[in-house]
Symmetry: C2
Subunit: 408 residues, 2 copies
Amino acid sequence: MISVEEALARILAEIHPLNITHVPLADALGLILAEDVIAEEDIPPFDNSAMDGFALLSKDSRPRNGNPPRLRVTGGIAAGYIANHAVEEGSAMRIMTGAPVPPGADTVIQVELTRSDGPESEWVEILQEVAPGNNIRPAGEDMRTGQTALQRGTEIGPWEIGILATLGRANVPVIQRPRVAILSTGDEIVDVGEQLQPGKIRNSNGYLLEAAVRRAGAEAHRLGVARDSVESLREKLTEAISYDLIVTSGGVSVGDFDYVKDVMQEQGQMNFWRINMRPGKPVAFGRIGDVPLLGLPGNPVSSAVTFELFGLPLIRKLLGHSRLVKPQIDVIVEDDIHERAMRRHYVRANVEWRDGRFVARTTGNQGSHIMTSLLNANALLIVPEGGITFNAGDTAKAMMLNWPEVEI
Amino acid sequence: MISVEEALARILAEIHPLNITHVPLADALGLILAEDVIAEEDIPPFDNSAMDGFALLSKDSRPRNGNPPRLRVTGGIAAGYIANHAVEEGSAMRIMTGAPVPPGADTVIQVELTRSDGPESEWVEILQEVAPGNNIRPAGEDMRTGQTALQRGTEIGPWEIGILATLGRANVPVIQRPRVAILSTGDEIVDVGEQLQPGKIRNSNGYLLEAAVRRAGAEAHRLGVARDSVESLREKLTEAISYDLIVTSGGVSVGDFDYVKDVMQEQGQMNFWRINMRPGKPVAFGRIGDVPLLGLPGNPVSSAVTFELFGLPLIRKLLGHSRLVKPQIDVIVEDDIHERAMRRHYVRANVEWRDGRFVARTTGNQGSHIMTSLLNANALLIVPEGGITFNAGDTAKAMMLNWPEVEI
């Protein structure tokens, strides 16, 4: 049996980001940028007005004999259009927010600081003196031609999408989204829609893992259930090796019908198959052919928890993320926890920010078959190997499952 | 102008969760459960073994004259099958993890605490006395028939999907996913793939908002760009009223070409159109016909920030969530911030957990056209109305944009 840390290190040592591909901008959400993005234009592309108002020469805004100067209005510029003449001394042009500043003008005064005869007025009075550059957004103030606007390795969120759109990137170089095959194993497993016969249970892991894989940012494909025979497993795994990753549940323990390890040894390579933790000691990792296989336990809680600890970082590394794991923080436990197990225990808990500190409450019966212990759990309390006693008020480490990932 | 809080309250007062629909289990991820889910069976459905081992009568495990008792092995039960005979005194059956406990047996001993003649052995020696119920997971220990397994209003994550699968729910009653129309406005806007002509900029808001709407859990549909005319806007909005929500950007300021407000007043009802904040004063809310319309500003940063403050809670309420807004926490600011604006200012910042506290650093030029100020921003520092000076080391409120939402 190896430690959780060693297991994760061994997995990540074998996993590398997938290849680069180009996707339409709208499909890049959540993926990792595979190349630096260099601005090929200044952004904004031209000096433009930050306000609705008038473009003029700043020196024309100076009061004359204590009176507001009155300027001729020679036209208007709406956003999207350019002036067909320059602003000359003694004149001004109406200008809308975002419109290019016309040649000649060196400043813009907002409409609220002027007086005129309505929208068609042929004159405008300037009620306040304004400095050069007032309300003008210079070309290149946001990004300059040649500047690295987004760095390779950046996760593409809505705001990065906005920047890519501004720069005219209709197609984006990204790390491919992993395609993950999900395979449940066991003669006891029937599909969700089926009537339960005696001795049977439903395929909860397949659906749970499909959702978890999707939430991790990968494409999930349920391949159904392999029966408890080497033949059935070989057949399903033959189908699975066209994917980037295979995630199985069940079949990796010491029982007579635990064939996943056997087939891995036969058709690929097994790296490890037991981790010193609970829930979920029997976690296996290796390859079928060249495709990495993560074998999770059959108990639903074990499967759910070990996916968070190993499956999520694995998929994030395939996706090209540098932040792979959920953060750990100190929390105050609100109920007593007595543990004397030799294995490290990840206890499902709900953590809340209350009165300036994080407090944790465990979610009931922690048996690995008690799925209701997953409800309301947003964290895993970490009980170290060898056991420990936490009394209410003690500090413990918690892994925050709904916080953003951090670097290891 | 109304306050941010009043604007949000007015929006939410007009918005109600969408109707109930039924979706296949795998499609329920991220949606809100619309009805309580009652267990119609015990889970687990039958007493089953937690270990690979032997099922026996506990009294048969008592040492005889100091020696391990030797029992006849009358067969085996794999997971998924049921015993065809009972365990009688003096006998045992091999049993696999998850297999139903055979009639007659009241306990299970793990294989490691036995000795036998291999997998086909006709006898087994019991090396440790075991109590009744050992390694048996009783039927109904996780969920009992009639119990409310999941409550209406629960967000369906991977773990809830696992529970629904276990309970055989191939179809799930959920609140419909909102279909959101996204409309950019302005004669200056061209699509991402187009060459920039003088005076034009690209449609960054359409793509940014599409991604943000999707990340909020709704379906996003970009309807393109309405020109700066009442006719063009009417035409686009006629298309948009088949959606559950319309989000526009641009066209809601005081300029000559700001038609969104006008068309809203003509074809529906306008609730408000200015908020005492920046970036993003010109935010409008109302209806076109019966469809709510959220009008965001045209500046990309204003559009991005006001979506987080108003669009996200609005969409989450349509989805049926009870936790609508991003949480606010106290952070230590690491750079000086001097503000004397009358409007509340949401300053883009990066917040990190360092040495037991949250520290915030602003992300540079905070102009509403500076999209690069969005990069690395995971929080909005809140500078109250009227302005304030924060010196490095002072405490400020920050809204955490990548934390899970909380109740208002």
